[in-house]
């Protein structure tokens, strides 16, 4: 008998209905019969009871605390609870299948002719800019261009690109280039070290003499560039002798 009564009561209100009216129940803005049903449901449903407790704590906090100014407490608490309730429901209910997206023009992108023209020009400018940057970076390792140039010989456009970070400054480009060359030099130096034991004295002397001469030039140009980073010619010569060093090492590594 008790079990039957329990089932009947439980059947009378399900969780969804209970949660829908729980905020009104908390505010005392609900009919007596419905209130009774909710109370009964809360006594037998742990999940809804937990939700009821949480809501109660939140509501108490809002009412008791002095930190929250009274003006931010909404005048219509029922509406607030409705919103909270809707949020909870939206989390519980499965999302409706997405409608197929409509074209971007149908979302209020009604552009005037001048706006469309401006947009096209903007796209063209940006793509040109990116192309220029790409080409500039692609040709960077040639040694006689951007990497060996100073800021004094930069065009205004290049300076702007450097400022906004779309392109390297000549100094950055040079440093990057030197790092690349140095990595290659390190690699070939190891190869030469493995091989040079087999060379005859004449070959070793010639190699060492030339390497020493190149290293002297590298040191000289590096010092000049430290004193005057805008010295284009020295930058170019440094690039050349580093290439020469790379060539020398590579060519002797196959002996």
């Amino acid at each position: 008998m008790v079990r039957l009564e329990f089932d009947l009561l439980f059947e009378e209100m399900n969780c969804e209905e209970c949660q829908e009216h729980i905020s009104q129940y908390l505010d005392g803005e609900i009919e007596v019969e419905l209130s009774s049903n909710i109370r009964t449901h809360l006594s037998v449903c742990a999940e809804c009871a937990k939700l009821y407790e949480d809501f109660s704590v939140i509501l108490e906090s809002c009412r008791d605390t002095n930190i929250i100014p009274s003006e931010i407490v909404p005048p219509n608490s029922q509406a607030l609870w409705c919103r909270i309730n809707n949020l909870i429901e939206s989390e519980i209910k499965p999302e409706p299948p997405e409608e197929p997206k409509k074209g971007w023009l149908s979302h209020g992108w009604n552009l005037t002719f001048s706006q469309a023209g401006a947009a096209v020009i903007a796209v063209a400018l940006i793509s040109s800019l990116l192309t220029i940057v790409g080409i500039r970076n692609y040709f960077a390792p040639s040694g006689e261009d951007f990497t060996s140039r100073s800021s004094a010989s930069q065009t205004t456009f290049e300076k702007v690109l450097s400022k906004i970070g779309l392109a390297d400054t000549p100094q950055q480009a040079r440093e990057r280039r030197i790092r690349e060359q140095q990595a290659a030099i390190d690699y070939w130096t190891k190869r030469v070290q493995e091989r040079r034991g087999q060379w005859d004295v004449k070959m070793r002397d010639a190699f060492d003499r030339n390497l020493h001469l190149i290293d002297e030039s590298v040191s000289e140009y590096t010092i000049i560039l430290q004193e005057n980073p805008d010295d284009d010619l020295t930058g170019e010569m440094l690039d050349t002798v580093l290439n020469d060093k790379m060539d020398l090492l590579r060519e002797f590594s196959d002996l």
């Binding site: 070959m203 030339n210 001469l213 190149i214 010619l233 002798v241 020398l248 196959d254 002996l255």
Partner: protein
Amino acid sequence: MALVLKNRLCSYFTGKTTILLLLSVVFFFAPSETAAQRRFSKTYPATRNVRLTLTNRSGTVTVEGWNRSEVQIQAYLEAPAASINPQVLNGTILINMVKDNYGRGDLGSVNFTIRVPFDAAVDIETKVGNLNVSNIRGTLVRAKISSDGDITLTNISAQWVAAENGIGNIFFDGDIQSGGTYRFTSMSGDINLRVPFNSSFKLIATAPSTRSINLGSFSNGNMRFVGDGRRVTGQVGDGSSYITVTNQRGTIAFIRR
């Protein structure tokens, strides 16, 4: 009297014997240059505009143009003798002493004398040693020394000429053809270019260390010294060809022919 004569004769013959003995010892132990060298010689028929590509390790390479449709290769190989294996591929004669002797450490120098048709393209390089090219009227002359050695190019008439070495001199005596490209690069040494007085070219000459760039009679109002005299750029005549000269630590001089 007879005793004195006998003593003199004895000392005379004893001295001679000693000298002969010493000489034979010297000849026996002295290294014989002719015996140490191995000679290689081969001749190939040449097609028109044949190309010679030679990569040597060490030694002098001399390439001469001649009025025959054949390529003659002569090599003198010092001991320990290197392997030499010329190949003919699609009108190109290839000799690669580095590849043919890879892994062999102590090898003697190989001195080449190669004769090619006048119109041949010549592309030679070596790690150490001198390179000489003369009497070539082909499309290309390239000579490169990775380290020490002089490059001498005489009586050259080619559209594309490149000479590059480390420590050593470069001498070019030839024509500057319209539309041609001429590049001379050295780390240290003198670069001397002897070209006809009526040559026309655009020039970039750079000598950053010595700043010694002598244009001789090619100096004109179109020439501009830049970088405190480290570089000269400009034009001679209508500037129909390009000459680039870079000498990191040496001098550059133009001589009118």
